[in-house]
Symmetry: C2
Subunit: 329 residues, 2 copies
């Protein structure tokens, strides 16, 4: 949308002071950042005497229970709709039809934001939308408490891989330090978010490791998650998110590919790359897209056919970038 | 030793200003914290015009190369010996005989410090010895630079599981924020330290996952690393450190056991526990010891016999603590 107005932090704070009856939307397949942002903002607005409701298009996983609560019920009519951490209205999932064109304010940190809302406060330098919400709440003179700090910490920790990724800045750590002044139990949060998996998922990981194959002088690794594995272990969808990390965890691998069966002859290839390769360009060749280091494509055919297509695309990139002789570290 | 003098941060800084010809010792099987502390201190002392040498009892793994350098060669005679991050002189390994009773100053963060040095600056609230060295360098008016910041960040990040563990405090994050003011490439450091494993280690992990067995209503998980697996993959010793994490990664498991074969009829059991279990007490029953959540014991017998002993010890603890009915989270 071309009529999206750019808000500053101060504009955003003023907007929140001036309006009421907020519907706060989180994205589908909710993660720690969209939920942490939504609930921290909710608690802040309640302190300001506002009415607000948090609506998530999908069921919220039980692991986030420690900062959730029952929110108000806001009538759609006369409501003010806020989207948090939602770069594209399609990410509203089941709520897109109802709210996709009715978002009054979008608060986000994705540089790829599609500007679908009436107003947008975008800080692409923030490691997580929760970083933005933290600053917003300070600006609104909201008094933080343990629950708000837990929600904000969860968003920042999960979106940065626990302060591991390149999106982390000095500001990220400064905010974390401020949140540690509250009783957040960060070690427990991190254990839940990063180091707890189901017995079934561990079984699936074992099966997936059995499929590991290496190509191009071990610079490319492919792992496969078949429909049979998903059926046998009962793990699918969001359960499988961490699996792709395996494909790029091996020393020397610059193209890690996870092939996930999504239909009888349909597969989703998730590609993770390191320099000099570009995952986005590889997936473009396969009809997909994404970011420089992480991209995906949907492919049709048998598993063997799909693998050939992917390996061809990677080989082409490796030749174009002289990846055969590129020295990592 | 009962004659160990307790130093404050200021005493420590004064001692470093007043002396010269430093031999800085790191512990055997060196990790990021002992090396980061040793080299950051070295660079600081050089700025102050002092002579200093860093000595590590073992070969330093290549992954730390980005903050290492050739240090001075100090004559033992007239030297001032400093031990960093070394709680017990036995951790000096091959250097214990030579330096064990000659440490002039010990800088450490382990509450279990054995007070073997002539003077000790202990800050048990520090998440890493590198936290202490950071404060010390500030106190000494040392100008930080990219290399010093990389060394300090490495120690803090590795000793805290990348800011994940309960030892992290607001101060830890404040120091990280200060280090981010330099060009440290934290994402690259974290990738090297946490997310890179050899192809052989991944193969070993697959083999280990095949051995997973669950006991006591899935509250106990046992994984086994046999001698044959170590031989086949060429992975042993420090390579296997991360394997124990698998044993406590499964939801609901409160006793995670890794049995590693160390001889034809000898096994090392590493026990990781969550409330209400106590790993130290379990391992005491088995002739070993350690901390509340992480302990170990050496056991003799066949693998089957060893497992029976371990399961008996865990069962006893579970009964004593009513772990059968203890509700986690």
């Amino acid at each position: 949308m071309c009529n999206c107005i750019d808000f500053s932090l101060i504009d955003t704070a003023k907007f929140l002071m001036d309006n009421d009856n907020y519907i706060i939307l989180t994205h589908a397949s909710p993660d720690g950042d969209t939920l942490g942002s939504g609930y921290a903002l909710y608690y802040g607005l309640k302190q300001l005497g506002k009415k607000a409701e948090v609506i998530c298009p999908d069921v919220i996983p039980g692991k986030y229970a420690y900062f959730l609560c029952e929110t108000d019920h806001i009538c759609d009519k006369d409501s003010t709709v806020i989207a948090v951490d939602i770069a594209d209205k399609r990410l509203l999932g089941s709520l897109e039809e109802k709210f996709g064109d009715k978002v009054d304010l979008n608060i986000d940190h994705h540089i790829t934001n599609q500007r679908y809302a009436k107003a947008l406060y975008l800080d692409a330098d923030a490691s997580a939308t929760c970083e933005i919400i933290y600053e917003l709440l300070l600006d609104l003179n909201v008094q933080l408490n343990d629950t708000i700090a837990k929600a904000l910490y969860t968003g920042i920790s999960t979106d940065t891989g626990c302060f591991k990724y390149s999106c982390v800045t000095a500001k990220t750590h400064k905010i974390a330090a401020a949140l540690y002044e509250y009783s957040i139990g960060a070690d427990v949060i991190n254990k839940i978010m990063f180091d707890t998996k189901s017995k079934d998922l561990l079984t699936l990981e074992r099966m997936v490791l059995d499929t590991a194959e290496y190509h191009f002088d071990d610079k490319c690794m492919i792992i496969t998650v078949t429909a049979a594995m998903q059926e046998k272990t009962g793990c699918s969808g969001p359960d499988l998110e961490g699996i792709t990390e395996i494909s790029r965890s091996v020393d020397g691998v610059i193209a890690g590919v996870t092939i996930k069966q999504t239909g009888s002859d349909t597969y989703k290839a998730s590609v993770r790359t390191y320099e000099p390769l570009n995952a986005s360009q590889i997936c473009n060749c396969l009809g997909g897209g994404g970011h420089k280091n992480a991209a995906a494509a949907i492919l049709n055919g048998t598993l063997a056919e799909v693998k050939v297509k992917i390996l061809d695309a990677i080989k082409q990139q490796m030749e174009e970038t002289n990846a055969w002789t590129f020295v990592t570290r």
